[in-house]
Symmetry: C2
């Protein structure tokens, strides 16, 4: 996708405006497409409303809105129904709603320790979810993709049975992704290099699936998590967000002025290997003092307990190990408290750097931080406030994700649905 890949987030495209990935002359067909997209985006971001209201909100003439809504009904993307007004008097008006039943998006995350498959309906409701623990690095790409394909096939079968049609599937992986070839170029956390994951998954699922196999895209897990987090705060007026995902590695998804920042070739957001202290620990990448050696999951566990401690047992669910760590912190265990303190400082250090570079309004801490971050959030905020050059930390608010480990899969499903919102007539 490279230079032309733009992911606009959270706001309806203005009517009559071309989507930013389609430069060139504007004709009637493209204006129609853009207006269909604008109506869809409005219903998603601002909820059900009457045709008159849609006309008022978009500035489009009422007859145009009537014709657009009729087309969207035919496409199975919206339906018209009575307003549900509790206790209201008088005749209820007819509202246009998103039709969540027919179309869905699938998100699949291959993480260091699990595979997660989920589907979201057009209105964002979760309609399928399944997660299996898996030691992905140890299993290797072939076995992991075998397992993933089985679970995707199960998902497709279930969706088919319910009459839901998947618009697309996005695979989330913790590494550098070449989106054009749908390849994982380098994912040190799971030990993968140059794996053409979309092709591999397509071949495997093709044999097993009952339903239709939708288009498969691949994206970086932290970028997809940022999409999901941004969907959570849609409509709040925030346009600049930094989402940090803490797992074995540390990834970032950057939203700048309402758009996912991908960079020239989609490689942006690689923050895990920021060299913050050349005198510190060696990293999986072969260098020293990378940020993820200071604040990644392995770092906090290693700081908090010796090697034989059950907290390091990969056979236990990660959530349980983090709950254990949390319990120790609450009980005041000195080594745990010191570990959290150290990680909080180093997390704040890197966040301050990124806040200086990007000036986000909101920093969301996701992944493992969701499970333990409230124990050190104040310390993190303090470090950020103390270090950022702009006054009052550039107005930046650091908060914890409410999605946690499921964010990447959620974001994958959102991205698949995004194609429907961008080009409703092609769905």
């Amino acid at each position: 996708m490279g230079e032309n890949q733009v992911t606009e987030l959270g706001t309806a495209a203005p009517p009559n405006a071309a989507p930013p990935d389609a430069p060139g002359p504007r004709d009637r067909a493209s204006i129609r497409r853009t207006n269909l997209s604008a109506v869809m985006g409005l219903l998603r971001d601002s909820g059900p409303r009457s045709r008159a209201q849609i006309a008022a909100d978009t500035g489009l003439p009422k007859p145009t809105v009537t014709s657009l809504v009729a087309e969207l009904v035919t496409l199975g993307l919206v339906r018209e129904g009575p307003a549900q007004r509790e206790g209201a008097v008088g005749r209820p008006g007819t509202l246009v709603h998103l039709d969540g039943d027919a179309i869905c998006g699938i998100g699949v995350e291959i993480s260091t320790s699990y595979v997660h498959v989920l589907a979201l309906a057009l209105d964002g409701t979760q309609v399928y979810a399944h997660r299996v623990p898996l030691a992905v690095k140890e299993e290797g790409p072939d076995a992991t993709l075998d397992v993933t394909a089985r679970h995707v096939a199960d998902c497709l079968t279930a969706l088919d049975r319910e009459g839901r049609r998947p618009a697309g599937l996005t695979l989330a992986l913790p590494g550098v992704i070449d989106m054009a070839s749908a390849t994982v170029t380098y994912a040190p956390g799971i030990g993968w290099r140059d794996v053409a994951v979309a092709d591999a998954l397509r071949t495997r699922v093709g044999r097993a699936a009952a339903g239709t196999l939708p288009p498969i895209a691949v994206d970086n897990d932290a970028k997809l998590a940022a999409l999901a987090e941004y969907a959570q705060i849609r409509g709040s007026g925030v346009r600049d967000m930094l989402c940090i995902t803490g797992e074995r590695g540390i990834g970032a998804g950057i939203v700048n002025d309402g758009r996912l920042l991908r960079g020239a070739d989609g490689f942006a957001g690689e923050v895990g290997h920021m060299p913050l202290d050349p005198h510190r620990n060696p990293c999986v990448c072969g260098r020293h003092g990378c940020w993820e050696t200071m604040v990644g999951l392995d770092a906090i566990l290693r700081l908090a307990a010796g090697g034989s401690d059950p907290i390091h047992d990969p056979g236990l669910a990660l959530e349980d190990r983090l709950a254990d760590l949390r319990g120790r912190a609450e009980a005041g265990d000195p080594r745990t408290v010191e570990a959290l303190d150290r990680v909080a400082h180093d997390l704040g250090l890197g966040l301050a750097l990124l806040t200086d570079v990007l000036n986000p309004r909101v920093v969301v801490l996701g992944g493992y931080f969701t499970h333990i971050g409230d124990r050190f959030l104040d310390r993190v905020r303090e470090t950020v406030r103390a270090r950022v050059m702009a006054p009052l930390a550039g107005g930046c608010e650091v908060r914890l994700s409410e999605l946690g480990f499921v964010a990447a899969a959620y974001g994958g499903a959102h991205l698949a649905l995004d194609a429907v919102y961008q080009r409703p007539a092609l769905s």
Copy 2:
């Protein structure tokens, strides 16, 4: 300006598309405005062309183009004239050109060691330039603004004499800028804090100027330098650029997908204080190991020569001191060679970090790097290639600016002209 400040660069807005800072319903007037802007942008980016060609390039109907061009002629922004075709046969066609004579933009840079005032005509031609050396930190805000106001008044008088009308003036400063209040919040390199520079300049110039005083904006020097650098490569297909300005401090201007990245409150690009090595030198900001203590102007001079060396003499022009440094490097002076080597490595280290975060296609090194950078560019590139996580350094090319120290003032003038391109009818 805050959340709504968007600087679109280098490409004509697509016809019928609203400028991104004007959400809401599209009406005839806004479509007309957008189309005027599209024609202006096309002429700037792609050169003079016939009305038929404009219609073909924008997808607008020919009668619409005729009417748009007529309005732009009335506004004094374009003129129609014969094509200059050397050796061509047949009747020359009529081309629409930008009219560079009537309207210009003014850029004023207050740097650590000089004040620079310049004006660019609508087509980017420099029509005024004057630079005076000034020890800004030592002089302090009041005296510096007095000097600046005198030179701005001289510029306005000269432009007025030539019948040129300034559309705006942008003041470039090396620090954190609150654009909404046109205030320098914090500029450690020149020791300014909370100086309302636009108001101060307006008051001072108001007394002295012959011509009309245009609107005054304030922006960060590195961001404006990035605007100027991006204008240089306009049309080359590059949409993601990082511009690093090396002076006493180190600043960055980031272009993401053709737009200047400002962040939530315009504070983005503060890269000088990235904490790259806590064990290294103290910084003006009070901490240790900030990037600018490793690669800023003071760092390279200190590494290259002892305190009594004339290279440190602020009474000499900076260019001459850098030429001296360069001569020593060419002569193989071991201390100078080692200093350059050290700075090259540390520059590469920070660039690799920023390339991982932003994935730019091009990194431009401006400011003092322009004068000495060719002596270490290979080493910088090597470090970046070795450290960036994405394959082949994410496709990133590191090059030297051709503008050097004048880039910020150039960018200021470009930004002032940008208002004319965005809203031709208001100029």
